[in-house]
Subunit: 312 residues, 2 copies
Amino acid sequence: MSLTVVGSIAFDSVRTPFGERDRMLGGSTVHFSLAARFFTDVRVVGPVGDDFGDEELKVLEDRGVNTDDIERVEGGETFFWRAHYEYDMNIAHTDETQLNVFADFDPKLSEASKKADILFLGNIDPELQRSVRESCEAEFAGLDSMNFWLEQERRSLVAAIAGVDCLLLNDAEIRELTGEPNLARAARVAMEMGPGVIVAKRGEYGAALFTTDGFFAIPGYLLEDVQDPTGAGDSFAGGFLGYLDSRRAAGDSVLDPAILRQAMAYGSVLASFNVEDFGTDRIQTLTREEIDERLRDLQRNTRFEVESAPAK
Amino acid sequence: MSLTVVGSIAFDSVRTPFGERDRMLGGSTVHFSLAARFFTDVRVVGPVGDDFGDEELKVLEDRGVNTDDIERVEGGETFFWRAHYEYDMNIAHTDETQLNVFADFDPKLSEASKKADILFLGNIDPELQRSVRESCEAEFAGLDSMNFWLEQERRSLVAAIAGVDCLLLNDAEIRELTGEPNLARAARVAMEMGPGVIVAKRGEYGAALFTTDGFFAIPGYLLEDVQDPTGAGDSFAGGFLGYLDSRRAAGDSVLDPAILRQAMAYGSVLASFNVEDFGTDRIQTLTREEIDERLRDLQRNTRFEVESAPAK
């Protein structure tokens, strides 16, 4: 039972209508691993600079995340992102991006990371995603990306997508990738590119799952208090793939439709906790009991019985 | 068992990326009643001009909708709306609005319409909504509105809302009405205005229900073919309130949380059929069997079992 995640480690400065924080621990692998670690053993592969200290490492290590493959680039600085959100927190407005050591990131995976059962390729250059995928033994690989790669490196991205089992993108990105304005059709076209499992992330509206078996849609958990949506998609992916790995280890198939649905629900729950506070603050204090309690709550709040209307 | 709907009757000219139609039968009461009539006896109250012919009336009457209170204004023309949609069909771009006879609409309800068990106040001047509500005996009344009234006649709209049991608005409108950017909080504030049931319509993303009991969220049915979203919200309201009336007539409480959820599901199903073709074309040929089949399908595609992840 093990999961390797490759991608960014960052410092994020974020302002929302509800507050402002400077240089919080962030990045896709951080949000992902802090969610996935509730279900499986996670190994993080990503670069940091001299400004990344023991305090930051400790956030991961204290929660059982393996940091052996975090690469410290001497004389470099960690990826930095500054952004703000308006009241519509589905849209991040980027104010500053300093790629720093992330610009020259060339993932170096230990043998242990290569041997992981599940692999998650965070949003990095699709050429790197492809070469990491090829070097790994994972029996199930997921991939995230963003509009920048869709527009600049489309051919390379399509090749990377062809090598994975599961594509996790925002719904608008799936539409852009396939040129199909309708999400259900777009997911079908994406499936023809290779992955048998397509996950469309829909921000506060939840997420949708497409397989050859059909679709599954889950609304977002409706919170009264949303502080900072940064990292919600990565927390979703961490909950989703982490849960799948735990079931795989228990002898189940990760392609079982019922298990994929449960993974979607766990992903939604982890994403909902992510947004309750800035950065990783809420997820850092989260317990497994709280997760399972909210999962049952989400089920209650989305379930209806079919009782045919009385004849007119 | 009866339901009165008060609002617009229109001719709609609509262009979407998938086609274009001129002067189709439309308007909120038309979409509403063609959905609600599957569950209950519906009476339409609204104005038309000389251009509204027997052919249009027949669409309603052939499907059991009572048109006695459709008011023909001699020498007048029927409300006309022209709009187009881009690929993001959540947003209607209005190109032309001719209120015509709708501008001077003063609803005149027959005794039978006043005696209906359920009342739906479509999007009209909130002063009229309030006076209609006061003249009716309905034990449960729903109300829709739009940003125009929110911005121009806020005080009057809030008074109208205070008089109904159920508010059905787009999620953005609920946020605007209450000044609360968070939907769950906004719904709570809206509830304090009077209605115990708040329904937030979320376009292709589905809908959410708020009561003192908590929330219920249902994703939209994911269709591969969406032709024209016009009227989807009214079809939702028709399915929702029509189903509630059928259960009320069977002796159930329309405030029973389980029944409200089923009504949300029926609303979603009717809305999903509405958008499959232009105007009312799909709903005109719809059968009760198709509705119940899609309801079961929607349940299958949104349900997950809670099975706690194996211990790590």
